[in-house]
């Protein structure tokens, strides 16, 4: 992701590296405050303001995505584009294929999956409401493999 950042014309600074590392260390998602704490392990003087500003840049580059959880929308996750920007070459800014997240309700881990085939559901919604749908937003909640193995999360019925 650092590469994507610099290729977009942003400086490679210690603060930004700390935030990126924090994002990678966070288990798929983190709030700005959590990123600050994680990031300070790598750059003690890191400030919350810089976390916000770095996230803003990453959002604009679509390298991270804002998650909307029941409790609020204060967490961020690395997007598919962000992961694939590991060390490979550039991503056009118009990287617009999008995946969605599955979030573990036990440990908070968030994983993006691809294969966003909602065309027929979108079509049904359009037919039913008369709207013309141009984008959407999907998130799933459940239990990750580790938590299912470790713990007593027996109740995994598919609702809806």
């Amino acid at each position: 992701m650092l590469l994507a950042l610099t290729q977009a014309g942003h400086s490679n600074t210690r603060a930004r590296r700390a935030v990126l590392t924090a994002l990678l260390e966070a288990d798929g998602q983190a709030t700005p405050a959590e990123l600050l704490e994680l990031g300070r392990a790598h750059h003690a003087a890191l400030g919350l303001v810089t976390v916000y500003r770095t996230l803003e840049i990453l959002l604009s580059l679509k390298l991270v995505r804002k998650l909307h959880l029941e409790e609020g929308c204060h967490t961020y996750a690395i997007s598919a584009a962000g992961w694939s920007a590991g060390e490979t070459v550039d991503r056009s800014p118009q990287h617009d294929e999008h995946g969605h997240h599955v979030i573990c309700q036990s440990c908070g881990r968030a994983v993006e999956f691809d294969g966003c085939h909602l065309d027929d559901i979108v079509a049904k919604a359009e037919a039913q409401t008369g709207f013309r749908v141009s984008s959407h937003w999907l998130e799933m909640f459940g239990a990750c493999p580790e938590c299912r193995a470790t713990a007593n999360v027996e109740d995994g019925s598919i609702e809806g």
Copy 2:
């Protein structure tokens, strides 16, 4: 909705009636601040705090739903359960069938549609991630019939 409220043991107060009316008058969605403004037309002394507290109750009864928009998650919409609680008899608290919203990006109108058939998409996500999915959350954005008719919203390609 008033009935559902009182049947759940909450008082029928002027402030709550004002909030309910405001919700009905809002075009499908509104922020607490907007509900305050709308509500004050019916109860001049209405306070923002009461709007929040009433929404909290309505949320717990699943009569309203929190919408998560790109700009944030500060808006509320009447749910299908809320609409059907118009004047009919009670709804068991376990009314758990859920619809999702389509939100007009032009006028902000929000409409809930039913037919939430994501089973195969959920199955794919489970296969791909190893998660066990127990719930989800879907929202669509686009243009409502009125805005499409009225205005110049020609661009309605289905993205995703």
